[in-house]
Symmetry: C2
Subunit: 639 residues, 2 copies
């Protein structure tokens, strides 16, 4: 269906050769205001600069200079995959330049690209940690070296540049490197693969963008090589950790290291799309379904083991030990987006929204200069404020840290926010599908001609009155996703109520400029009950407001009360507020015991208060605190 | 008080210079039958042979031969601390020979000692992984090399030999090695310490046994050197992991790696006892109390993070992610025993019993030829039977494994079972204190002369009728621990009821041979309610029988029902059975959902059955199964 379009220029980060829905390019969809615009402006004004400043300061960018100068073997800063952080920043900058035009960033961008390019070796290889005298040989540690992983991020950076209308140095660098990788790992090369997936999705997209089938074929080889248990395991990391325990096409659920799992699933979906491999696509849909049904937190976060940053087993979803790495959530958005494009099914867009608004957005601090790596759903102890000038050694801290020894999350947030417009809408020859709600202008071409829409999100996600105005004339279908939680939503077109089918309200019409669809989503706080099979959440409920997961933060409780003493009175009505909810809580008495098991249940009757719940993604912006998403139900309530 | 006794020969694994209670030597207390005798015989007949056979087969013992032959640098088997497994086996053999006399084991033991001794270098150093050309230099990796840790286990093996009446090769080897360590790390040596505590407690005891104050002083130095944050941390292991985050004497709770924490605490208690350091002892008592109050599983197991084998934070005690390493439980017994000797307080003996019967005894399989390393309290999925000929890579498996890449637990179980008689009783000038119940003969000397007791444990821990018969004549006090759970216990002497004070029933009398104290412990199944502050256990109860934690195993449920569907009807009476309990359970319907969070609580009314609960330590002896200790309470029940 999209064969007649120039895929090298269209689409955001991903643009399949064939798909049910066609992604829109940055030129076709623009976020003009509201919630997401604020996030993109935070990214532009703070996060990009923060990442750049840190990586200059601690020498991660300098690695490239030293590589060009021939001194990097003696002096390399950071772990062996820090190149990838520079590439993700480049990707983020490219999307941002494409979004906002050149506001001075382009010169910074080009300068950075030149420094990266200068480190490329004559045969195309480009990595600051391997291959020189005094360094480990190239490709000598595929399990842990992350070389191909880093290359993948370089390719994605190049794709971002192409898709925002440029064809300059980064593209040449990527092409030379991809040719090198093809020679080394292609059909005539070594039958091996990288411990950390990422290059798969990147190669497919680079191949699409450069019309180079060899890259796509190489991606297919990397996907098919997985599951043969050839990657060397260690005492603590088995084949499952690497997703090397079984072939992608035969697995039933995602498992192992959550980021690796999601990046691989995204790349495998790209391969399935490119080759029309329905068996593979079905396997990936099945894995998505089982992962969502059994291994996903309410926030959309994934990964319940800190050990190995892994998925837990089915329904093992402890709030307090949620690892829920920011990058895994971003990988989940990537995977869901690809399945949405392939299938057109609303459930994928539902999960994207949940994950972006909760599991991803919780990472950056309000000022964009500190980040969560792991995203717990229950903070038991108020921590301390990290030093703004110090790298955090550990991924797990009670407050956001400015930077990490392994700092994959900040740059991943940056590239996601810069390209979040990609996830707003898609097109088919019939019309446009609106998947995410933002003030936006959409302007594309469908079978009947130009189709222009103006979306007003009306304060969403904190309010539920939205409208879509058609500014062009002609026959088309406008499909608007009605989220799964929005039972009782009302959609009106021309005074007539529009039905919701399969998650979308579809208005097919010969539109005239000014035609307007009004959407009223019931944005009221609601109780959410965990499945009783989730042992760790027994006897608790969460409160959600539209697509937002809410939480109680000790900052909003009486002084000296932490969230461990909170019980929710589920019989009292929930009050929806401007930016959250207000609930009736009982505060259990403070207690101690010498042995935490006893012959009798402990009576917990305590004082009652009315307390504020805030969006989960906003917590820990007001100093050290404790926090919980799932609230124990007070005695007598319905858990 | 014990200054007049020959400490080199008295006591079991530990014999303090000064203490409230004096430990008895293997010559003074003998287990004659019953539950613990069976375990000791299993150890003698299977576990010792199993460990020896495995370590011969996989070359861990051969490392010593190759060290003696000068070839070990080219060919070393196993990770760098496998020497310690051979030493723990030697310790176990020594205790077993002391317990049962020479049944042929002594020749095997001596042969093994000769092979170890042959590997000792002229300056006393003895380690198969370090110091030779082609190996890393001695003491070049104190954080991870485990050299001093291994030495500690060699010293403990020597102590076992001394305390069972021998003075032969292992003692000479240990002395030469300890002198070497003193030269290297003593007051004139390097101001450093080992990443893994163990040498501290070993040095104190070797010093006591050999009357060598330098060793005791070195142990003190090692304890005092901890907490200065000098051990190099890594991305994943911070100072807390190593217990190097704060000085032992200023910490409030145990933390970090659970085994390291317990071994250090044991050694620090020894140091406190040796130097009369009450500040240090008070700190350790405080740490014990807070750890028991907030960081201990119902089984006595400790360590709720798989990540780093660490303690979790306070009250973070998820049943399904209980790491509860066997060695940590053994370390806990070591720590509690030392505090019991110092204070005479029953709570330490209570925890020893709980920990031995549940967290330690769950490790060995019924046949003594497979072991748990980590001991979950909730197995969600039935695993597969491990290959009896294969080393398990991972510590975490659903069934016991015959051996591990890091195989600290089997030999630790072996030395603990061989020396378990040490924990039965103690003496003071006034009399004897019976702390653990076993059919036993106790024969010691108190101020008034010889005191001989015969204990009949009458099927304990499955039945509660015990008796202590005094076989000697004279004034003495016999104190019998009455466990904390045994409310309503009746103790009769001469037809008179004996009161329980501070956890002991004390009978002071001028005994005549045949005097008999009868103890009736109320051994009935009872519900145990977790503290509501333990989030992971909300809405559940456990069932205990005397000192035994019970569990439900899927093997005892209708076919096809796993423990995830079980709810306990807490209104129905518990039935005590011969070896556990029988309870009324509801079986919730099997269910699936595409998203495990919903708008309404799930109704779970299901079929009712009567099901058997078995002792936790016996689970997984009948093939793959699921298991849980904490049972969700059926709706309407008191959770």
């Amino acid at each position: 269906m999209t064969d007649t379009l120039d895929l090298t220029r269209l689409g955001g980060p991903v643009s399949p050769r064939a798909s049910a829905l066609r992604p829109l390019s940055p030129a076709e969809v623009r976020i003009t205001g509201g919630f997401w615009r604020e996030k993109q402006e935070l990214n532009a004004s703070a996060i990009l600069d923060h990442c750049l400043t840190w990586m200059e300061r601690i020498g991660w960018i300098g690695n490239f200079d030293r590589a060009a100068a021939g001194t990097v073997a003696e002096h390399h800063e950071g772990i062996e995959f820090v190149d990838s952080e520079v590439y993700k920043l480049l990707e983020a900058m490219a999307w941002e330049i494409g979004r906002a035009g050149d506001t001075g960033l382009d010169a910074v961008y080009r300068g950075l690209v030149e420094r990266v390019a200068a480190a490329q070796e004559p045969d195309g290889y480009l990595h600051t940690s391997f291959g020189r005298a005094g360094q480990r040989p190239r490709f000598s540690d595929l399990e842990w070296g992350h070389e191909l992983y880093c290359f993948g991020h370089l390719f994605q950076a190049a794709v971002a540049r192409i898709r925002t209308g440029y064809d300059d140095t980064i593209v040449e660098v990527a092409q030379r490197l991809a040719d090198h990788v093809y020679r080394e790992f292609g059909p005539e090369g070594r039958d091996e693969l990288c411990g950390h997936p990422e290059i798969e999705t990147a190669l497919v997209e680079l191949g699409r963008a450069l019309r180079e089938p060899r890259y796509v074929e190489l991606a297919r080889l990397f996907v098919e090589r997985r599951g043969r248990r050839r990657l060397k395991t260690t005492l603590f990391q088995g084949s499952e950790y690497f997703l090397d325990d079984q072939p992608v096409r035969s697995a039933d659920v995602l498992r192992g290291h959550a980021v690796r799992a999601m990046y691989l699933a995204a790349g495998a979906t790209d391969v399935a799309a490119e080759f029309g491999d329905d068996e593979l696509l079905d396997a990936l849909r099945r894995q998505w379904e089982n992962t969502v049904a059994r291994r996903t937190y309410l926030t959309g976060g994934i990964g319940s083991h800190h050990q190995n940053e892994e998925f837990g087993s089915d329904l093992e979803l402890p709030a307090d030990r949620a690892y829920a790495e920011t990058c895994a959530a971003i990988g989940s958005v990537m995977f869901s987006w690809r399945l949405l494009l392939q299938t057109g099914e609303a459930k994928y867009a539902d999960l994207i929204e949940r994950t972006l608004l909760n599991a991803v957005l919780v990472s950056p601090r309000e000022d964009g200069r500190a980040f969560y790596y792991a995203n717990t759903l229950h903070q038991r102890f108020a921590g301390s404020v990290p030093d703004e000038d110090e790298i955090s050694e550990r991924a797990e801290s009670s407050m956001r840290a400015p930077w990490f020894e392994v700092s994959c999350c900040p740059t991943n947030v940056a590239r996601t926010l810069a390209s979040v417009g990609s996830y707003i809408a898609t097109a088919t020859p019939d019309g446009v599908q609106l998947h995410q709600f933002a003030d936006a202008e959409i302007s594309t071409v469908v079978a009947s001609g130009a189709l222009r829409l103006r979306v007003e999100s009306g304060g969403y996600p904190f309010a539920g009155s939205l409208s879509v105005e058609v500014e062009s004339e002609g026959e088309a279908e406008v499909a608007i996703r009605i989220p799964g939680w929005a039972r009782g939503a009302r959609i009106l077109f021309d005074g007539t109520e529009v039905a919701v089918a399969d998650g979308y309200a579809r208005v097919r019409n010969r539109f005239a400029p000014g035609s307007r669809i009004d959407v009223e989503l019931p944005l009221e706080a609601r109780l959410t009950h965990p499945d009783p099979r989730i042992d760790a959440l027994r006897g608790t409920v969460a409160v959600e407001l539209g697509p937002l997961v809410l939480c109680v933060e000790s900052t909003d409780l009486p002084a000296g009360v932490d969230v461990g003493r909170v019980r929710i009175d589920t019989d009292a009505p929930l009050q929806t507020t401007d930016d959250g909810a207000s609930v009736r809580l009982q505060i259990a008495p403070q207690r101690e015991s010498s042995w935490p098991y006893g012959d009798h249940p402990v009576a917990e009757a305590g004082t009652e208060i009315t307390a504020r719940l805030i969006p989960y993604h906003r917590w820990a912006n007001r100093g050290p605190s404790t926090m919980r998403v799932f609230l124990p139900v007070a005695e007598g309530g319905a858990g």
